[in-house]
Symmetry: C2
Subunit: 410 residues, 2 copies
């Protein structure tokens, strides 16, 4: 983690509850960072089911390829994550290192390697060193312990790279169950150190097909609605594990009335983690919500909202606390989705800026600017076509972003 | 124009030749700027044909809408351009102001308003003031003169906004004809002051359908292959006029052997102007050529090249002269076009970085970094699928970009 904590960070890391069956360990392996844990293991009990969502990058990393390959089994006994080295774009040697990692973890836990999920985050183009893996992964065994609050905190710190704070969230699931997640990421999504990773655990019993359906829905409404710089990592991964250790009936069908409850709870954790990633956006000084309504469809609304949220011109204006709504019009126009120029309505915070295709009578730039001086900013746009709506979250684009990304690695 | 000239600017404005039949005038109207000309008129002789290519923005400006409406006539007697006010997102009042501008120009030239092309560039959301138009447009008549070198220079300066230098180019056309172009733009394409405008003139006689075909082809190979910040203006416009004043046979068919010669010449002027716009990219310190080969199609190659050229992470690395090729892999991966990870080859300048899906044996980061210290940078990527190829041009992303765009308007 970097020195200065983001001004948008939560006051403290949350106190996360144990998830029955989950045991955690961290270790200072020294892949890149010194004097901090950079290796995290979550051991999972027999019967654990797994679901995963991965980067759409066509140049995905060796660990992502490994996870994609084992996911159809639907079972899991561990997830291991290292920070400092992404093991991405490393060819055959990277595949071998990934397989070795799974074998080493499997050996200490007495499970099959194909039940071991992998994640690596850090520099692209360097293979994970096999010697170091062989020396350090077995040491994790001695450190395994219950998933109590401190252990979650240590695990969340071990997976960080350029993050300025560790990220965790929890919520009660259906019945007397628990959902806990940890995540890392501080750009959406920088290719080197700012890959987005999320690991979510529940003690509910859920069949793997139902678990996958729930995760896909929750990710679509959370991690897939944030953007920091429009870039996509080779390693983005969200994994969800269900240990079945709670005293609750198994969730085996999406038509079970508890399914919607489970998805809603999962969304709470996912959205909390996703918002924390935006709050740690590289150089961010504003947490920005963009809401688009009146679009031809919900997908069209999301495309327009992301066009606004990804526009460097909108983001630099927000950094300057400048109510430069012309740049919002520009972003709507370039999104390529239907929008009625003559019905377009734009709000900056509570202040309506435009109405009927021009500046609203009585629009106050002072009121709009006052809203932009806050650290949490809302932009709302109605494009006047139909009922499609979507909300996305982003941050501003500052000198800090250039500083971090033009400076890193040099 | 701004104070400091881009470090990538040409040494001087070129000496542009007259184009038979074209008369030019500029005037200090005072739409926004003071003590500089901000209104430019090119009067065209009877028989002039016109072609145009406009922004794809769905929120296009009133002048763009006006030009689109009159373009099917295929004839032109004038083009008038003001800087400082884009007359965009101004509703009915903007349409009225646009029509008034055309009428005022038509009156001084004794032509029909529907032969008067319009362009406005500047702040969005403010209607062109009718009083000021009525007071200043007629004054242009007294200033009309031949299109000699100084007049082109004055015209190129009058259309500038955040540009740090005026942009012009010329080339010989088929036979003894001439093609001259002027342009403005310093972001691709900022919504306020950095709209891209290009006005190109030839004394060849060309029928309007052939002229349109030639312009579409030339723009696709030039203005549509540059990117500064991935944003799209509401006002982008390229217009081409053929006066027919040269002593050469009319070009009336795309199967005329001189057609290819004309298109090639037009591309030379268009690409020269497009490169000048990139060289004036907001905050740019590097002129960057991105060449992609081995793609599934030429369009796929262009998509991948633009993904690289638009990536904030690639652009900040270039600003830092950091041979961070992992970010190029990331950009290829996110482009969504077919790429063979295991055949991907990347060059930074003359230095081949990767081969066969990993770092090349003998790759020298020193040699790659040495290339990045130059002000003209070349990135080449072969994605190993088929024969599709494309080249695009962009610039780096620096603190200067943030400075200009977070500071403007405040």
């Amino acid at each position: 983690m970097s020195g200065g904590v983001s001004p948008l960070a939560p006051a403290s890391f949350p106190t996360l509850p144990s998830v029955g069956g989950v045991r955690l360990a961290v270790y200072e392996a020294g892949f890149k960072y010194q004097q901090r844990a950079d290796l995290m293991l979550a051991a999972l009990p027999d019967g654990t089911t797994a679901a995963g969502v991965f980067t759409k990058s066509l140049c995905s990393s060796a660990p992502v390829d490994w996870c994609r390959e084992i996911l159809p089994n639907g079972t899991a006994r561990a997830v291991v994550c290292n920070s400092g080295n992404a093991n991405a774009f490393t060819g055959r040697a990277g595949e071998t290192a990934a397989a070795l990692t799974a074998e080493l973890v499997a050996a200490i836990l007495g499970v099959t390697p194909r039940d071991v999920y992998l994640a690596s985050t850090g520099v692209i183009g360097e293979t994970l060193p096999e010697d170091l893996l062989s020396q350090t992964v077995p040491a994790l065994a001695e450190h395994l312990g219950d998933s109590h609050a401190d252990a979650w905190h240590e695990a969340a710190k071990a997976i960080c790279t350029t993050d300025t704070f560790p990220k965790g969230a929890s919520v009660a699931g259906p019945g007397d169950t628990t959902i806990v997640g940890i995540a890392k990421g501080s750009g959406m999504i920088a290719p080197d150190m700012a890959t987005m990773l999320g690991f979510v655990f529940t003690d509910l019993t859920v069949t793997s097909d139902v678990l996958q359906a729930a995760l896909t829905t929750a990710v679509d409404a959370s991690f897939n609605r944030i953007t920091v710089d429009s870039d996509t990592s080779t390693s983005d991964t969200v994994l969800l594990f269900a240990t079945g250790h709670a005293d609750a009936d198994a969730l085996t069908s999406t038509s079970d009335p508890r399914y919607d409850e489970f998805v809603a709870a999962l969304q709470v954790v996912s959205l909390d983690l996703a918002h924390q990633i935006v709050r740690d956006g590289e150089g961010a000084t504003k947490f920005v919500e963009v809401n688009v309504s009146g679009a031809a469809s919900n997908d069209a609304a999301r495309t327009i909202a992301l066009a606004i949220g990804n526009s460097p011109l909108v983001k630099t204006a927000l950094a300057a606390e400048d109510a430069n709504w012309g740049r919002i019009v520009m972003a709507v126009g370039k999104a390529g989705e239907q929008a009625s120029r003559d019905d377009l309505a734009i709000w900056i915070g509570p202040e309506q800026v435009t109405d009927g295709g021009m500046v609203r009578d009585g629009y106050s730039e002072e009121r709009a600017s006052a809203h932009l001086q806050e650290s949490e900013v809302k932009i709302r746009v109605d494009v006047g076509i139909a009922d499609g709506a979507a909300t996305i979250w982003t941050c501003d684009l500052t000198h800090g972003y250039i500083e971090i990304n033009a400076g890193y690695r040099s």
